[in-house]
Assembly symmetry: none
Homo-oligomer: 189 residues x 4
DNA sequence: CTCTAATCGAGACGGTACGTCGCGTCTTACG
DNA sequence: CGTAAGACGCGACGTACCGTCTCGATTAGAG
């Protein structure tokens, strides 16, 4: 019986356009702040008509989400399980290595001007993950932990990526462990 | 002629215009994101001609600085000396109390949508203060400490102000101490 | 093989589509100006895919022609022979009666907003007929006579159709005779 | 007492912009149909920002009105008094001479593609003038007379202007008299 | 009663023009 | 002078249609 593909395949043209837009955004965001980038520029750079942008994304930010959401989700998947893990430093190392492996993308996302949008996206993702794991110092409110962890993560990674290659990934992981995990796990002295 | 006043007295109209603009910005920023506020709206709300804005500030951000810079500087003056102080919890309490005493202003600055602009301003101020005090764990790079501390401060205060009155200032100070100071002073276990 | 039908029978689907489009145009043109009607609207109203329109007509105007051309041609065939006829009033009456017999169509064409397009079509048709008959006052240039007659015809008919039933066809014919034929046949006093 | 000018003088810049736009429209309408002219083209040609257009006119048609209304009014002022005058031929001659004196403008208005808009404007103006004078054959309804006269006037003038200089103004006046006035004054034979 | 090719719906696409918005500059006239 | 009022050049915005172009999925009508 040929049920062939029960899942409706997306129109190939749609895939192509979306991919072109994503790539164009990444190209552009490396050179100037995300907010300074025009939707027309993105579409010109992507080689699509500018109306095509709106057929796929309501907003510049929506495209950024589409570009970043997957990466962010991957990253969070590495970063958040720490609440159950014992050796936080390993989690930090995994996180840092993941970012390093996609250095170009994350540089664009964090240092390219899209930072504040990505920040919101990360906090949002953290919020979705959160609530399940509570191995932190229980006197710190969960939502504050989420905000703090997300922001601390961003700051350390941003700082690290801006440093180029002057800090190796082990040291970065150590710093991340110290600034992000240490305060939410250890009690104040 | 009494040169006894080295500071040129500003034209009264100038003072009035500036004050009207500052007040207008504070009014507006409570209701929607700073970036979404139009210069025309500010001037309309202030009851001045819109060209008048440009005679005093080159930019929306410049007006925000004028509104916030003093407050931020005051806050940092309380917050940063901790690097020399012994009892960081006292510093946190002073910081939290200072913000509480200007709750409306700080709510506007942090939760009103100006957050990212203020964030940049705080980091900038921290940078200026920095370099002088190094009582932190010396293996954490100074510039990372500055970024981290500024951001952690912002996050805790933002979280606290959004909670309304459900968290008292002592607890807030404790959380601030735990999340901001603890990791940059204590060595990782 | 029965060549008795020289005209190739059109695919039934083609007939259906064309008819749906013609009907849709007539529906729409009653409510707003022809120029303001979108091809997408016509196709939606006709219940066909919008690309189907282009498979049959190159242009909105081409569809209008298809709707109107035959009628216009019939009308002109009645109206123009007058140049040879002796009793112009009879021709006028025939013309008016013909329009009356197709009142809904002609109302749509003349008062529905397609007027200027139809006007051009009529003048064009008049031009094709023209040149053959010259029983008019010979000092009036032929091409001016054509323009004038076509336009005068349109105006009288439009006026008449807009009046609803308040003017009977005999009076309309009399007015048409007076305004269209009288000046081009009789010499100025 | 210097009440100076009780009438608020229009800002000089406004006058300049409007004039530039009017001139630009006249330039452009000579080369292609009015409907095919873009508002951006008008503003580019006028050397003003395209938004400036909308500060003065809601619509392309509104600009055309502003250009044409005065001329049309002047023309009607010559043409309509005929209903009281005895020698219609003199009125025709005056009309034709007036158009001749502004040949470039009227060519643009009538043959440039703006024709249908101008036609509506003329009929409107005729309607305003109308109702006062009834020296026409009383059995022809007033509103039909207005429509007819306006259209006949347009047709004759359009035809004449398209002929270049091959028809002198006396002959044109004679034709206008014959086609426009003759049928509405003289009874049918 | 098939089989094949014409026709269709659906809708993505590259374009062009639209009319709106906010910017920051500049002009005019007032106090 | 500093101001209000507001016109202006600029340029991005998001929308609306255009006419072209795949795609499968009918569906006529010839064999």
């Amino acid at each position: 019986m040929t049920d062939s593909l029960p899942i409706r395949r997306e129109d190939a043209r749609v895939q192509r356009s979306r991919q072109a837009l994503r790539a164009a955004l990444l190209d552009l965001v490396e050179h100037r702040p995300f907010e300074a980038i025009t939707i027309r520029e993105i579409t010109d750079c992507a080689g699509v008509g500018h109306a095509t942008f709106y057929r796929h994304y309501p907003t510049k930010g929506a495209l950024l989400d589409d570009v970043a959401a997957g990466q962010i989700r991957d990253l969070m998947a590495l970063s958040l399980p720490v609440f159950q893990a014992r050796s936080t430093i390993d989690v930090c190392l995994a996180t840092v290595r993941h970012v390093e492996a996609h250095r170009r993308l994350w540089s664009a996302l964090l240092t390219g001007g899209a930072a504040s949008a990505v920040r919101a996206e990360i906090i949002q993702t953290a919020r979705e993950y959160g609530g399940e794991h509570h191995p932190t110092a229980e006197w710190i409110p969960t939502d504050l932990v989420q905000r703090f962890a997300a922001t601390a993560l961003m700051e350390v990674l941003t700082w690290w990526l801006e440093r180029g290659d002057t800090v190796n990934s082990e040291d970065a992981a150590k710093l991340l462990n110290q600034l992000m995990f240490f305060p939410i796990i250890n009690p104040a002295s």
